[in-house]
């Protein structure tokens, strides 16, 4: 395979149902503004299946796509796999993760719509660095609020963001009322929800400035379909077949990107059989395995719409984890709807198991995966080694390594120093955080 896909593929026409409508928050009287390019809204709601990749985005894709896919024979041997394991690697771009696939697309659409600056919040820094580079590519200014604790652990993520000309602020910052209030209340700077809240507040100060986020939105998952589309072609070129596809889930864009093209292709009769799609989540944020299907906010500030999602509660206090990119309380509404109908499966992985799988992969395949990707590798290893009776694979497993771990070496240092397994989420705390959420009505979720 020598070319990246020329079109993204939407799974929406193949679902057989509509996604539940968001519940928009009450807003005080006053004028309304368009804060998002219409093309992104169209991509989120339309039944159109193929969306041509705009040439300016395709040109940037050509620098790092097609992304490599290979059979990980040495990893298979290390984990005593009973079936082949194929790896799709998304770490080969400037951001070091799959996030760049949608960052480029979004920056292009916002620029075309006439916005001059994009503002975002970032936890691990992968999204922040992806957006900073994408904004530089399309001549947009960029402002990033990065979770303070994460920035201290990963200072070179901050360097990368600044290298691309973005304004970087440690969250909580003194730039926003939310940040000043959090600082005054001695709140720890370890919340992605707070960084996002600051970004939302700051973006509102100028109509040509837009808040932009890149994981759980349906359009983000569409842009990530390049991963799975390439993988299908690459497996075919190898004469290989898989019956299981695994990706890690924070909100769901990496998992959706690698897995949903397999769902669409199977529904369209293009694959010999449907694949089992396995979402690997962090056991610190077990929304798909232990959460409830309810309407919840996408961040703890409550400024965004309430979406139908599997959630552990937007106000649940997520414990620290090295898989910062997975520290999100809810799954994307698209991924959640598919989970609700048993169209996807899920496994929760602890960080010690994830980092251990990452270390085995690094030493066997000589590619260092991000801690987030370690969750997918651990889940893939369980399935390929026959340790998950309900998810048995007979033909092979495809796993997406969502990014490299070269800026996450502190996490591997802690593994080498004897990092203990994280504590499973407390059932009582989960019940408390979700008790007041409105369940998705059977008709809305039908």
């Amino acid at each position: 395979m020598t070319e990246a896909p020329r079109a993204w593929r939407s799974v929406l026409p193949h679902l057989g149902y509509d996604l539940p409508v968001d519940l928009t928050p009450e807003q005080g009287a006053g004028p309304v503004t368009a804060t998002l390019p219409l093309e992104l809204i169209r991509q989120s709601v339309s039944q159109r299946e193929f969306w041509p990749v705009p040439e300016p985005v395709a040109e940037r894709y050509r620098a790092f796509r097609p992304a490599p896919l290979w059979r990980a024979r040495r990893f298979e041997a290390e984990i005593q796999a009973a079936v082949p394991i194929y790896v799709k690697y998304e770490g080969g771009n400037i951001s070091g993760s799959h996030k760049f696939n949608t960052a480029l697309a979004q920056a292009y659409y916002y620029h075309r719509a006439g916005f001059r600056e994009l503002v975002t919040g970032t936890g691990a820094g992968q999204w922040g660095s992806a957006l900073a580079a994408a904004c530089a590519a399309f001549g947009l200014a960029c402002t990033v609020f990065m979770v303070g604790g994460s920035l201290r652990d990963k200072p070179y993520r901050g360097s990368l963001i600044r290298l691309y000309g973005a304004d970087l602020h440690t969250s909580p910052s003194q730039l926003t009322a939310l940040g000043r209030d959090a600082t005054g209340n001695h709140q720890q700077g370890n919340s992605l929800a707070l960084a996002i809240g600051e970004a939302v507040e700051y973006a509102r100060t100028d109509p040509k400035r837009a808040f932009c986020i890149g994981s759980g939105e349906t359009y983000s998952i569409l842009h990530q379909s390049v991963i799975g589309l390439e993988a299908i072609d690459q497996l075919a070129a190898l004469g290989a077949e898989v019956d299981t596809v695994v990706g890690c889930v924070g909100a769901g864009s990496n998992f959706g990107g690698v897995a949903l093209p397999f769902f669409a292709a199977a529904r369209a009769g293009e694959l010999p059989r449907p694949a089992t799609l396995v979402a690997a989540e962090s056991s610190t944020t077990p929304k798909l395995t232990r959460g409830v299907y309810a309407y919840d906010h996408t961040d703890s500030t409550g400024t965004g719409p309430m979406e139908a999602m599997y959630t552990i509660g937007s106000r649940y206090a997520i414990p620290p984890s090295h898989a910062a990119g997975l520290r999100f309380h809810g799954a994307a509404k698209l991924i959640s709807a598919m989970r609700h109908r048993d169209q996807i499966s899920a496994l929760a992985i602890g960080q010690r198991e994830a980092l251990s799988a990452g270390r085995v992969f690094a030493t066997s395949e000589l590619v260092l995966p991000a801690p987030e990707s370690g969750h997918a590798l651990a889940a893939a290893a369980r399935v390929a080694a026959g340790q998950e009776p309900d998810l048995a694979s007979r033909h092979g497993v495809l796993v997406c390594v969502s990014g490299h771990g070269l800026l996450d070496l502190a996490a591997y240092d802690k593994l080498l120093a004897g990092l203990p397994e994280d504590q499973p989420a407390d059932p009582e705390a989960l019940r408390e955080a979700t008790a007041t959420l409105r369940p998705v009505h059977p008709i809305e979720g039908a």
Binding site: D22, T24, P25, E26, Q27, A29, G30, P31, V32, T33, A34, T35, L36, P37, L38, E39, I41, R42, V45, S46, Y109, Y110, R112, A113, G114, F115, P207, K208, A210, G304, P305
Partner: protein, 89 residues
């Protein structure tokens, strides 16, 4: 060609639906605020409504006409859509 009456009727139908009202669209005045005492169209719902408007009127609304622009009344939206229909004809 789409005329102003058709556009106005379509916009009023959609703002009534978006506001979850049971009133007749004809009861909505042209200068009615989009987000005020009667209509409750917020910025998030507004975008989805624009995509529905494209389907109803079979046209494509260019992004650069909307980004960063402030819409106060029903007529504000009708004016922009009319500009698009003129460009398309």
């Amino acid at each position: 060609m789409t005329n102003r009456t058709q556009v106005t009727e379509a916009v009023k139908r959609l703002v009534v639906r978006e506001s979850r009202l049971s009133v007749s669209p004809t009861a909505v005045a042209d200068d009615e605020p989009l987000n005020g005492a009667l209509l409750r169209v917020n910025s998030l719902g507004f975008l989805g409504m624009l995509v529905q408007l494209e389907d109803e009127l079979d046209l494509t609304l260019p992004d650069d006409l909307f980004a960063g622009r402030v819409f106060t009344t029903v007529a504000d939206l009708v004016d922009v859509v009319m500009d698009v229909t003129k460009e398309e004809t």
